[in-house]
Symmetry: C2
């Protein structure tokens, strides 16, 4: 696949890839699998989109740490029925690598009974943004608008073609890498990427920070007129949810062309966890997204 990646591959061919972490910075690393019939079905996505999306899902974890990407590794299992698609899959990974300034540093290609991509991402930051830093008095923010991935998934599962805006959000999610770094430098106290669903992921922040968080679902930006109670459960959105004492949402939107919206507060006292409100009432949402059933 090396030939496909060109300038987006580096140093592949030894037992390990060798790279330098900038002096004074800490290494951030995460591994993420995308498996046929678990994370996508053949026919929903093109091979190029499968590669892109698998890499984007992994890269989103670096975004949530406010880390600058150093590179990625791809382990891929390719069944006979997918062998002819390998170059297109590699093109998709390469497109995300180029967009994230994260060269492919190495990998492993094996046979297998199902298509499976495991992407490991490496990045660095002086003080990575963790989940445990939210403090009472902070505001909760979310980037972008939610619900597109769920709208696409619902259409796919009904055997229909999703609306283009929904399909785009499912097939080509944009990891908020530059946004994450900006937010870290602007004083964000905690962050998570929206992979399980907004409420589920903010719950991870509440648990790690040992704080109570109230989310006002009326304020959550949604796509296609989706009910925010649904959008707040939409997984694999790869937007960022974060906490900060103060942030300039307009400056963020101006810099990145993406909205940054205040959607809740970190409160003092009470049981740690997330409380959701909608139209003035407390609502309990069913558990978050757990992929589709194989």
């Amino acid at each position: 696949m090396l030939g496909r990646w060109g300038a987006n591959a580096r140093g592949v061919g030894d037992d390990c890839a060798v790279l330098s972490v900038p002096a004074g910075e800490r290494l951030c690393v995460s591994t993420d699998s995308s498996v046929e019939n678990v994370h996508f079905r053949r026919g929903w996505l093109t091979p190029e989109e499968i590669g892109y999306r698998a890499a984007a899902a992994a890269m989103s974890d670096l975004a949530a740490m406010g880390a600058a990407p150093l590179g990625m590794l791809l382990a891929i299992s390719v069944p006979p029925a997918w062998r002819g698609d390998l170059e297109a899959i590699a093109d998709g990974v390469g497109a995300l690598a180029a967009a994230s300034d994260a060269p492919v540093l190495g990998g492993d290609t094996t046979a297998g009974a199902e298509l499976s991509l495991t992407v490991t991402v490496l990045g660095s930051a002086q003080r990575p943004l963790m989940r445990g830093g939210a403090r009472p008095g902070d505001t909760v923010w979310v980037t972008g608008a939610l619900g597109g991935a769920l709208a696409a998934l619902r259409a796919f599962e009904r055997g229909e073609s999703p609306a283009p805006w929904a399909r785009e959000r499912f097939s080509r999610p944009v990891p908020r890498v530059r946004e994450g770094r900006w937010l870290r430098l602007q004083g964000a106290t905690a962050a998570v990427d929206v992979s399980d669903g907004l409420v589920a992921d903010v719950s991870h922040v509440a648990a790690a920070s040992d704080v109570r968080i109230v989310l006002d679902l009326d304020r959550v930006p949604t796509l296609g007129g989706m009910d925010p109670r649904d959008a707040a459960r939409s997984g694999e959105e790869y937007e960022l949810a974060l906490t900060a004492r103060e942030l300039d949402g307009e400056r963020f939107a101006g810099a990145f062309g993406v909205p940054l919206t205040a959607i809740g507060e970190v409160l003092d006292g009470g049981e740690p966890g997330v409380e959701t409100r909608f139209r003035g009432d407390r609502v309990d949402l069913p558990p978050g997204h757990d992929h589709f059933s194989p």
Copy 2:
């Protein structure tokens, strides 16, 4: 699985694992998949051995760089039929993590149609040992004794139980991590781990170093009286093959309880590649190990 790993897991639970690379050292990273029916079959290995072996195979790449392990990540796809074995698999990964002083830093567990483990290893070294450093006048060395993995594979494929010494080499290979660091510090010029087969892997060194290498197969230590022409094609051995101007094999054996044997020379001139000799004659071996056919 976190509970199973105890002190052998660290920092799991954020979007990324965060770690420090020692100042002045370069990061070495590699990813390696072990897939059911490609790298092993159910019934050949216990679940604990499957976990151990997958992690050992990845760790062996750090050994070949002479790098000190920093940690590892595990992505695992678990089919329903294997769910009850997950803790035993984790125990095997944990045993290798403990033996290598490489804590499990993070991971991803998903469903899947076949058992698949992708282990990413991270380590560091001031000057990692690459494949491209062999120079004319160097001697070629190999650690340990070869052939056990092939003997076990042949028995498994005949439906027989391998001899214990062969089974042990297949099921619990020992990545030569400490040995690799020692060899790097003692002046090794290039190294590779024996994963595809001795001749195939030394060919990688010859190609990367742009040198001609002559291997004297009569000198290759083998197990169980195996013909060295077979042992030189045995893959997944996870011994190290390396080049160096001078090394003290006896001191190595005393320090690690493993032989270090001179088996060839790096020569000046001629076409880059590996030439094999046996009983005084040049022999051409068939291509190296390529796993068993699924």
